[in-house]
Symmetry: C2
Subunit: 245 residues, 2 copies
DNA sequence: CCTTGACAGATAATCGATTATTTGGATAGT
DNA sequence: ACTATCCAAATAATCGATTATCTGTCAAGG
């Protein structure tokens, strides 16, 4: 119990907006690896929303012992993708219309706030990171026929949005936004394999990013809000189609 | 992996704004009990901010095995009170001026938004809960000489703030606010044993609550914002006094 | 004098087995 | 039929021991 250094929610392993991006590098322990694998399984829809996670089955499936399994699941709880109850075990967080709408609302509220703060506080390096993330995203094709392109695109899309707000200098806020993005991405991965025809998402991203580096707060924030809102509306329709309330 | 029911971040154990309040009832497993004990130890300052948590020592101190200890610590990570790194173990989240300022800023943003939503959506039961929480809080004395009164007051204070925003119908938002409140309470517990002389906190709470049930959005939100801001400023001064940057 | 590498002690991660709790179904009583 | 109670199987929680990893120290080499 010796005092040391570091700050709450300070950029740890996964948080550092290092040059190469946000996606975790050091998957050291079995627990960490499991967390990643489970996260992917949930976000991709492989593990059905709302389903109970049987520890014994999972243990066999992943060929690990209970301890690291619990370790991994514990992290997904922090991510909001898994829920837990004493003596009842773990289950994949359910999806619902209300949940999606809350996620959308909170993203509009907080991601936009974080963007504004980034524009206020971000330095030139932040600007550069934004432009790079934009470029990489727009250069990546999204072909519904090839799942690996979808995954790649999702990864870059996530990184773009996180980079946009990475200049805000508020680790806790970034943590919250990352969480909301996680939750949101699951809906998109499961329900939206291609963009609705009446949108030009690349252009939307460009407008947001250009506005951001130009420090045109009202414009860029408004674009981002609309971008998030449209995605929400889109997803809502798809949920309705599949009869999810 | 059988699908079932329930919603993401839906009011589970600790979330339910039931009649008796927010403070957890069912401390079933050793892991849960540990989480509570550790949380209290951290928020009260007993476990020094920034200090490393030696698993072996902790195991002996609490007289438990590793598994539930990790379980408990995992939950505190969700609460933002503990940090973790692969193969490096756990440590109590550090405190800093920047961290405090972020917490204050985000509370002003999030908690005020949640209050506005509560006023927009809350029903009569919510109003009743607010008035009850206010009454209980204002009837409880806070005597710096008797620590148990401080703890009790903190508990009721926390409950008052959570009740205020409990009508917003947004479980994830509530989760975020609870987290921020946790983090904030640690600063107050550690640095502020009594109210600064120039404030009448009871009256501030009354004004917020009265405005809330009267659905006077602008007034109530403004009062809450000021309330949070004053507390932040106050804490900042105390931190500065103790040479924390 | 500084750097590098190897060792030992400390600490974290994982495992397999054991214990506790819950759940669903069968049975007895109303 | 309906409810309550008790059992057994399923599942979660915990433990103690083992294995893997890290950290600091010290010696050899530059």
């Amino acid at each position: 119990m010796v005092p040391d250094d570091d700050g709450a929610f300070a950029p740890t392993t996964e948080d550092a907006p290092s040059s190469s991006g946000f996606l975790d590098d050091g998957k050291n322990t079995i627990g960490s690896q499991l967390a990643s694998r489970l996260r992917e399984a949930i976000i991709s829809g492989e593990l059905q929303a709302g389903s109970k996670i049987n520890l014994e089955k999972a243990r066999k499936t992943f060929n690990v012992s209970l301890s690291p399994l619990r370790e991994g699941l514990a992290r997904l709880i922090s991510d909001g993708l898994v829920e837990f109850e004493d003596n009842r075990g773990y289950r994949v967080s359910a999806i619902s219309l209300a949940n999606l709408e809350e996620i959308t609302t909170l993203r509009e509220e907080f991601e936009v706030f974080a963007l504004r703060e980034s524009m206020r506080l971000g330095d030139v390096e932040w600007e550069g990171n934004v432009m790079r993330a934009l470029h990489r995203l727009n250069r990546t094709e999204r072909d519904a026929a090839r799942p690996e392109t979808l995954e790649r695109w999702e990864e870059l899309h996530r990184e773009f949005h996180l980079t946009l707000i990475s200049g805000c200098g508020k680790p806790i806020l970034l943590h919250f936004c990352r969480l909301l993005l996680n939750l949101n991405d699951r809906y998109r991965r499961v329900f939206l394999t291609r963009t609705s025809g009446d949108r030009n998402v690349s252009q939307e991203h460009s407008e947001i990013a250009q506005g951001a580096v130009a420090r045109d707060m009202d414009y860029s924030c408004d674009m981002l809000r609309q971008h998030i809102h449209r995605t929400g509306t889109n997803l809502r329709d798809h949920l309705a189609t599949k009869g999810i309330s």
